[in-house]
Amino acid sequence: MTLTPSLDFFPLLAALLAAATCGLLGNFLVLRRLSLMGDAISHSVLPGLVIAFLITSDRGGVAMFVGAALAGVLTVVLIEVVKKLGRVEPGAAMGVVFSVLFAAGVLLIEQAAARHVDLAADCLLYGQLETLAWFEAPTTWLGLFDTATLDAMPRSVVLLLIVAVASVVLSVLLFKELRIAAFDPGLATTQGVSATVMHYVLMTFVAAATVASFEAVGSILVIAMLIVPAVTARLLTNRLAPQLVVSVVVALMAGAGGYLAATIVPALLGAASVNAAGSMTVMAGVLLVVAAVFSPTHGLVARVVRRRRLSRRSAVDDLLARLLRHRERGTHRVPLVELKPTPGLITPARSAAFAERLGLVRHDGDALVLTDTGIERATDVVRRHRQWETYLVNEAELRPDHVHDTAEQLEHLPVKPDVTDRTDPHGRPIPGK
């Protein structure tokens, strides 16, 4: 089974639009620690949908969208009220508001005996990607760009397109305002960018995107896309503008990859296709895990590598410092066995091996001798150590017998304490330079 335009184009397009929009807007939610707002809104729009349906009796119309969007904004308002008036913490406030609103929606459905209408919960949860079939589709992919065929686009895709474009425009035009309101609401307000207004603008767009995406991809995918791509992007970049771009890319990858995995992979295995929205969600999760492990700055692998590098360097420095202290007392050749093991996994023998590879130390029989570069580096370490001890005694007012261990750790930092003494608190000379 391959992808065909009639069955696959609109579902795929809808999914990608929904994913990209939610991925974009989700950045600001995640930054404001409001990640679960998508979850809250997705449940609490139910009364809005029901009321809109009851008023207009038009199941697929714009009224439903407006009703749901209004319900979304109401949710945000109520959450703020509960947070401020009741001094309730944000997660709990969300939980209270959305569960009560959802219950009200359920009650409304039952009360109006609207059970015959397909407002069932699972429709809300999984969406109806499969029903976005397009029966007058051209038979080839090139025929898509014929304007006549584009006129027949399903309403939900048009809506998604509008919301997507509007979200991009918002993010670009109000980038600076959204950024400052996200990172420091207090500062934003004093600078004339009302954090409250930004909050409500953002939430309105989130509500609109959520509701527009529901029909196509269901609430679970929406919730996932509002959170997971943004978090993934945060692991890959440090600045907001790249983060916005990366999150949209990740969302699109999750959407496309998930869709393919849901439709093509099972076909290759001889099985029927699986739920596309679920598959996209899983794909987003997979991408997050990949980023969490392999991100060059924050990934697990990178952190482990950095830590090992650091501990090796510290072990080498410690070895050099000890050899230098022996040298100060007149012993230029230090037998390996005399070096006591240090806490940690790196034995003196291994430290010696590392140091020799760096040309800092040389094996002379069963003993170690510092090379010239080794002496230089060891002097740096010992100087910093003694300077730190002096600093800690003079400025931090620690007792001389308490400073050695702390100095042992601080000596590894590339920071020089501001100390001009010539001897440390124990009377030993601080090497010059």
């Binding site: 998508g38 009741g86 009560v100």
Partner: protein, 445 residues
């Protein structure tokens, strides 16, 4: 539009639907028929259990963990079904599925913990990620199950995410058992949970197994969630885990009392909600229970003494009045004890008094015996004393703020009470000496 029976299907049509008193009493005393009794009992028990357990989640700022947990159970259910099916067992067996749900829920909690250790991932994001991704996995697996031949997997998700109306007696026994576990755990482990909730840094340093206790608390949430899920469905469980605990928070700050009040509110929500649902037609029990809980929340938020909105408002108003009294008496005392109407009005404008305060104040001063209010305000001796005391505090605070807190003299204003309450005696003495030296006149004692 109406049907033949005259019962309408519009929102506002509630004719013919009200129960009689006899009916009401019967249902409330567990005499409303077997099914109704089961529902009422089970939801009350669930409310108690969820209320108690929800307190700990709330205190750990993890209220929505229940939401994540509830969603995270789906893959476990699907896997359990597949495993059972593969082993030739009956897939739709409740115990099997519940085991799967529990395992999956626990894995979800552990994943949240693990995610929190990834850099730049916050609590809310971790919960949301687990919630959506786990549920996505579950949805995918479910769609696989639907296509399995002879699996008898129809409607498995509604089977699991149960309907309150379709509860079996076994459910109420299960709920009762869960409630007992929750009460017991809370009673036995209150101290441990308290220390972990309020100061986990200290607990860790003091040698308490914080991770283990945390896991225990989460395990309780899992038990309540899974038991509740299959009985009453997702939203109701989440609501009962959050709303009673949040409502109880308005009434008290003491942990043991919090747990008791939350349990009561949860139980009441379950009881009143299910009774109401049984008596009124077309009202699904789950939704009504949540709405009752919401109502109790609103009541708590407004009416609770001290932390309630009304109480806070009253406290603030009283403070504003007291401050206004202080200002008036000081102002008047410095002008010989008499302020004419114009002066009072000017003071009011300066101090930003609202219309209500301006109207209320003279009568209030009279009632307190501080002034007579013929022709403006004329202080009594008590009033003059108060004014002088306020003036003294004012001078001392000015001195303190200028000399000890480095505030510029033009920036001082004050709304505080006796200086003695805040500063100790020798500081006050020194301030008085300095003030006399600076102003050249004695500070009123």
């Amino acid at each position: 539009m109406t049907t033949a029976s005259g019962r309408g299907t519009s929102l506002t049509d509630v004719a013919d639907d009200w129960p009689t008193l006899a009916e009401t009493l019967r249902v409330m005393t567990f005499n409303g028929g077997f099914n109704t009794n089961v529902v009422v009992l089970a939801t009350t028990m669930l409310g108690i259990a969820a209320g108690i357990v929800g307190v700990f989640a709330l205190l750990r700022k993890r209220s929505l963990m229940g939401d994540a947990l509830a969603h995270a159970t789906l893959p476990g259910i699907a896997v359990a079904f597949i495993v059972a099916f593969a082993l030739g067992w009956q897939g739709r067996s409740l115990p099997v599925l519940m085991v799967g749900a529990t395992v999956s829920g626990v894995v979800g909690v552990l994943c949240v913990q693990w995610l929190l250790r990834v850099p730049r991932v916050h609590e809310d994001a971790a919960i949301g990620i687990v919630l959506s991704v786990f549920f996505g996995v579950g949805v995918v697996l479910l769609s696989v199950i639907q296509k399995l031949p002879n699996a008898n997997a129809g409607g498995i998700d509604t089977f699991i995410y149960g309907q309150t109306a379709a509860m079996a007696p076994a459910d109420s026994y299960l709920m009762a058992a869960v409630a007992m576990i929750a009460v017991l755990a809370a009673a036995l482990l209150l101290k441990e949970m308290a220390i972990v909730c309020f100061n986990d840094g200290f607990a860790r340093v003091d040698g308490w197994p914080v991770g283990l206790i945390d896991l225990l608390m989460m395990a309780l949430v899992v038990i309540v969630t899974v038991a509740g899920l299959q009985a009453v469905g997702l939203i109701l469980v989440i609501a009962l885990l959050i709303i009673p605990a949040v409502s109880a928070r308005f009434w008290t700050e003491r942990l043991w009392l919090l747990v008791i009040v939350a349990g009561c509110i949860g139980g009441m929500s379950g009881y009143l909600g299910s009774v109401t649902s049984a008596l009124l037609p077309r009202k699904p029990a789950g939704a009504v229970i949540v709405l009752v809980a919401g109502g109790l929340f609103l009541v708590s938020m407004f009416v609770a003494p001290r932390r309630g909105v009304l109480a806070s408002l009253l406290r603030r108003l009283r403070l504003r009045v007291k401050i206004a009294v202080d200002h008036v008496t000081e102002f008047a005392a410095e002008r010989g004890g008499h302020l004419d109407v114009d002066a009072v009005r000017r003071l009011g404008e300066l101090r930003g008094w609202g219309m209500v305060l301006r109207w209320w104040l003279p009568g209030h001063l009279r009632r307190l015996g501080l002034a007579t209010t013929v022709d403006g305000i004329r202080l009594t001796n008590a009033g003059k004393d108060r004014g002088k005391r306020v003036a003294r505090n004012h001078r001392l605070w000015e001195r303190y703020l200028v000399t000890h807190a480095d505030i510029a003299p033009s920036h001082i204003d004050w709304t505080v009470d006796e200086v003695e309450h805040v500063l100790d005696a020798d500081v006050i003495e020194r301030l008085e000496r300095e003030t006399e030296a600076a102003n050249g006149k004695a500070v009123p004692a």
